[in-house]
Amino acid sequence: MALPLFDVMHDPGPDFTALLEREGLLPALGASDHGITQAHGTTVLALRFSDGVVMAGDRRATEGHAIAHRAMEKVFPADEFSAVAIAGSAGMAIEMVKLFQVQLEHYEKVEGVTLSLQGKANQLAQMVRSHLPLAMQGFVVVPLFCGFDLTRETGRIFTYDAAGGHYEEADFQATGSGGRDARTTIKLGYRDDLNRDEAIELAVLALYEAADADSATGGPDVVRGIFPIVATVTAEGYQRIEDDAIAERFEAAMERRRALHGNAGGTLR
């Protein structure tokens, strides 16, 4: 490896993806999904609460109708004040998240300041858009992005489509195969003034319902002790909720449902 120096006219600036391109390290496009089995990640969601955002995702990845991984992580810190979750072609999605994380840190180190939350959201949109040729061949990656906006002092959520379009959501969003069930559940339980604890509980219930109705979404795996990942982003930064605390909430929900033969019993709980 040589020292990566560029003349002024060809300098990639703080753009890490452009740097990888110059160094010839970006993977070549042009693959086809014929005959390739690829793992798919399923349900991820984000919802706003009074102090920030909750983001959550199940742990299952599928290959066709088979379960490929039971403990996959789909919720990641993008940097100190934002998080990204992925649904879709798992290998590509995780690579995209890794690149996104490095890109944000790279920008921060080169420029000496962090990108605004809107800037981070736009950056991710560009990555999804540049991925379009692969998306056309079946390797679709649909991220969900959220963070705490330090200038507006509020949590914000952004969704994406495969073409790189991105849209800011008012209150909540869920994507992936179980996204519809998760969305309906959140809609039924959502209020503007949810506190952190209530928002985490709602995220847990939404994932429970998604796993209950969608075969590709993994529910709480009590045998192996694998539970969905839940994280919050607030003015204090990204914080992943302890597995034990999440396990307790799922155990409690299952206990209630067991008493009512699988139903919620009149209220969302």
């Binding site: 490896m1 020292l3 990566p4 120096l5 840190e105 180190k109």
Partner: protein, 224 residues
């Protein structure tokens, strides 16, 4: 046919070295020292935005003295090298030694082959972990590289600062003591420095992956 002027290589090198030294001497100096929790970097720098000290990677910091645009270019190249390497291999494969070697080769080749040598002196500091010791790599304008395991002084006026800092140095001292010694050494016998004249950063283990932290004026006032 006219003959090209002959200049002895010794003379060429001497002239270039003098030129680089003069350029470096125009700027203020910098002290880096090990302390009980990691590495302390102190630069005399009245600017709050044009940094002399910066983060390269999780456990690696960069410091430069001399001509700002030249060491800043090297700083950015270092970040690029580290981020690319960490992305292609793994975060733990990024180390200060290989980066310092690249800097040394580049500075050496510019010094020998280009019209003008770079008027910079740089330092690559790495916070140790496991088998890797905490180290300071000092690279001079002509590519000479030295590794220090106690402290390093960079800048045109380095000799008296080095002597004065060496007298105060104690192995395993705390942050406050190291900072006071660095401030005293940088100020010299005739001046005193205030926190606002300094740029200070540390490499120290915390709960986070990234060990680099800047200390602002309030934090410095608390330590002094």
């Amino acid at each position: 046919m006219s003959m090209p002027y002959y200049v002895a290589p010794e003379q060429v090198m001497k002239d270039r070295a003098e030129y680089a030294q003069k350029g470096i001497a125009r700027g203020r100096s910098l002290v880096a020292s090990l302390y009980v929790d990691g590495v302390l970097l102190v630069a005399e720098n009245p600017s709050k935005t044009l940094h002399k000290i910066s983060e390269i990677y999780d456990r690696i910091a960069f410091a430069g003295v001399g001509k700002y645009n030249e060491y800043d270019q090297l700083r950015v190249a270092g970040i690029r090298h580290a981020d690319t390497k960490g992305f292609a291999y793994s975060r733990e494969d990024v180390d200060a030694r290989s980066l310092a070697n690249l800097y040394a080769q580049y500075l050496g080749s510019v010094f020998t082959h280009e019209m003008k040598p770079l008027e910079v002196e740089i330092l690559v500091a790495e916070l140790g972990q496991g088998q890797r010791p905490t180290q300071l790599f000092h690279v001079a304008y002509e590519g000479t590289i030295t590794d220090e395991d106690r402290f390093a002084v960079l800048g045109g006026d380095a000799e008296p600062i080095r002597t004065s800092f060496a007298e105060r140095y104690e192995a395993g001292w705390d942050l406050s003591a190291a900072l006071q010694a660095a401030m005293g050494a940088l100020a010299g016998p005739e001046r005193t420095l205030a926190p606002s004249d300094l740029e200070v950063a540390i490499l120290a283990d915390a709960d986070e992956r990234r060990a680099f932290r800047r200390l602002d004026d309030d934090a410095l006032a608390g330590l002094l």
